[in-house]
Amino acid sequence: MTHGAPAQQPGMRLYIAIWVGLLAIVGVEVALTFAQLPTNTLLAALLSLAVLEAGIGVMYFMHLKYERRVLFWSLIPTLVFVLVMMNHLWPDAHRLLRMKP
């Protein structure tokens, strides 16, 4: 990210490398799914990989890495804050589970 004018954007060679990388991550996700992992472990692994994919996509495919830094700091923390605030529902979901036979 830059302070001033937007930086030079990358070429197709880097985009293709990222595309291959993202496809590889999807392959890892599918392999993990059939590796008989505990549900919580699988969820944590899949979520981590999905966040990694989204981060790479936003920074490179959507060019946020090459925009002024202020754009990143105006947008991303806001979204993260909203998503973190949504986590308040989990205790109630576990309460519902305990109420069932």
Partner: protein
């Protein structure tokens, strides 16, 4: 007094540079994307709430055909992001015809994704899955959450295809500028990235 205000002295047409250094249309698209990401976040959190809170949640998917189909859909959507990047690069180089061809290729891949998705939906519906019915006997919320989340994403894909075709035609005809192609590309990449959460959470987490 207005005479002491420099902005007023410059008149109504005076405008300062955007602190973001990007076109307004691009900034507005970013704001839409952040809002839409929160929408998808909310619906995925809702799905997680239902899944955790339902002891009779069923896992209906197998590697073939569902996961295999999902992998092909993921490949198609990721590849469409690549063609969109080629369209933006061509537009920035002033190659209108080339850019339009890449945009049409992106839209074609979007149509292919939607076709694969609908084929999967019709297969599930033929197996008596619906938003209110679970043929495996568990919680009907499995179908409700599956069809609502994938349906919302599919709606985004279809809207994106329409937008891509319109932008390609108008850009090729000289009625739009490269910034429009780039802004449409932002939306398309976002739709792609949302799928990166939908596929693992809605499909892979429900493999039997």
């Amino acid at each position: 007094m207005s005479g002491s205000n420099p902005a007023m002295a410059l008149g109504h047409h005076a405008a300062e540079e955007s602190p973001y250094g990007i076109q307004s249309k691009k900034l507005v698209m970013w704001l839409f994307i952040i809002a839409d990401a929160a929408t998808f976040g909310a619906i995925l959190f809702g799905y997680g709430y239902l899944r955790v809170g339902s002891p009779d949640w069923t896992r209906p998917f197998h590697f073939s055909p569902t996961i295999l189909n999902g992998m092909v859909m993921t490949f198609v959507l990721l590849t469409s992001s690549l063609t969109m990047l080629a369209a933006v690069a061509a537009a920035q180089a002033g190659q209108r015809a080339t850019s339009a061809r890449w945009i049409f290729a992106t839209a074609g891949l979007g149509v292919l994704f939607a076709t694969l998705h609908l084929r999967e939906w019709f297969g599930l519906i033929a197996d008596h899955w619906s938003p209110s019915n679970n043929p495996m006997g568990g919680s009907p919320l499995v179908g409700a959450s599956f069809f609502s989340i994938t349906g919302l994403h599919l709606l985004h894909v279809l809207c994106g295809v329409v937008a891509l075709v319109v932008v390609a035609l108008k850009y090729r005809g000289g009625r739009l500028e490269p910034g429009h192609v780039e802004t449409t590309g932002l939306y398309w990449h976002f739709v792609d990235l949302v799928w990166m959460f939908v596929f693992p959470l809605v499909y892979l987490m429900n493999v039997s």
